[in-house]
Symmetry: none
Subunit: 224 residues, 2 copies
Amino acid sequence: MPKLLLVEDDMQLARNLIRFLSSEQYQVTHAPGQTDALTVFRKEHFDCALLDISLPDGNGFAVCSAIRSQSDTPVIFLTASADEANTVAGFDVGADDYISKPFRPRELLARIRNALRRSQRSTPVLSCQNICLDQSKGVVTKNGSELFLSALEYRLLLVFLTNKEQLLTRDRLIDELWSASGEYVSDNTLNVYMKRLREKIEDDPQNPRIIRTVRGLGYKAVEA
Amino acid sequence: MPKLLLVEDDMQLARNLIRFLSSEQYQVTHAPGQTDALTVFRKEHFDCALLDISLPDGNGFAVCSAIRSQSDTPVIFLTASADEANTVAGFDVGADDYISKPFRPRELLARIRNALRRSQRSTPVLSCQNICLDQSKGVVTKNGSELFLSALEYRLLLVFLTNKEQLLTRDRLIDELWSASGEYVSDNTLNVYMKRLREKIEDDPQNPRIIRTVRGLGYKAVEA
DNA sequence: TGCAAATGTGACAGGATTATGAAAACAAGA
DNA sequence: TCTTGTTTTCATAATCCTGTCACATTTGCA
């Protein structure tokens, strides 16, 4: 259950928000002013902070700076005025988003979800059995240890992992790997690359369990 | 100069945005539809994408999903309706922000800056293994003692450290180092710079352990 | 069972890619 | 102007990837 820190001095609004957010499975901690906010923040971990800009004992910007100086917790401002200057200033102290009152509950939810996802966004990773392929890193691992594939082997594996459990015909594979270069390779070339790839990714290349041969049709990568 | 991808079918609006953003030191690439957008995106690196939701050949959500599936490039939606459903749907495909037309130029700028900052988490001090780069001081150290890099070597190292563990293609590197100057350097120039940089930062330049070569693809800086 | 087709395997030549040394073009300062 | 250091290119070497051949093995089917 994600933990939110709500810094808001308007008690009426705060109560409503807490009720609404709780019903949406968020655990909300409420701080009515800057001092409370920073005290709580130093003691506990939060996944996201919702800050009102105008506070009795300071302002939300100061709170945001303080938060930012000690963590990457996403910050969303709740602002009464849609005033542009405020907006810009808010971003300049490192806010992740802002929303002006009165706001629609579902929009607030969407922005919170968005902030949370962004803060834990992970790189797109493909996998099959004990093989992982991280595209942004350009790395293939087997049980966590790195495998070194050539460019073509990498692309071949990529095709299999993006089409897991799907039958890939020999024609389709040859097309994916070589059509771009305009060259036409001998049919046997694919056999050779399948062998090379299997030698690197399979535990027992003679008995492939990750990429299976479908005789007469092609190959497919299977999960189990 | 940050590179933006603008996907917008309203030519009038697109022209205005390009003029405005260019004057603010952004390099804008314009794609009028989904197909163009994805084609361009696959070929080049962008720091942020601005997507119109309604496009002649599809919609912005599809473009956003496609972008998100292959990179962390921040996405900002430009939407005609402030309609809540659209908003939420936008966030659900992984958008970073959205702004509804008509929007104030300065607000758009703020949101772009915000998205850029968030994505590069500009830490003042970057490091990898025994190498440190302090951006505020403009100094590179190895085990604490200072290294003297030329301007280009410094920028090259900076690109690697801000994208640690990530595969950087040769195209991307050449783009980062030379696209601003408008000059097009020979492909081999990059090889020469890699060699020089390695000669300064690596313990054994023949066996580079900080920046690895990924044959056929590019290079990457690794922690271990 | 035996045969023909499909797939797997080991080795090799040529080639694309990257690394390297040296040297010309260029810029900035003394 | 001369010096110094940087940037870029060129020519060449080292590396290892790629595609193909010949041949072995497996499979499905008659």
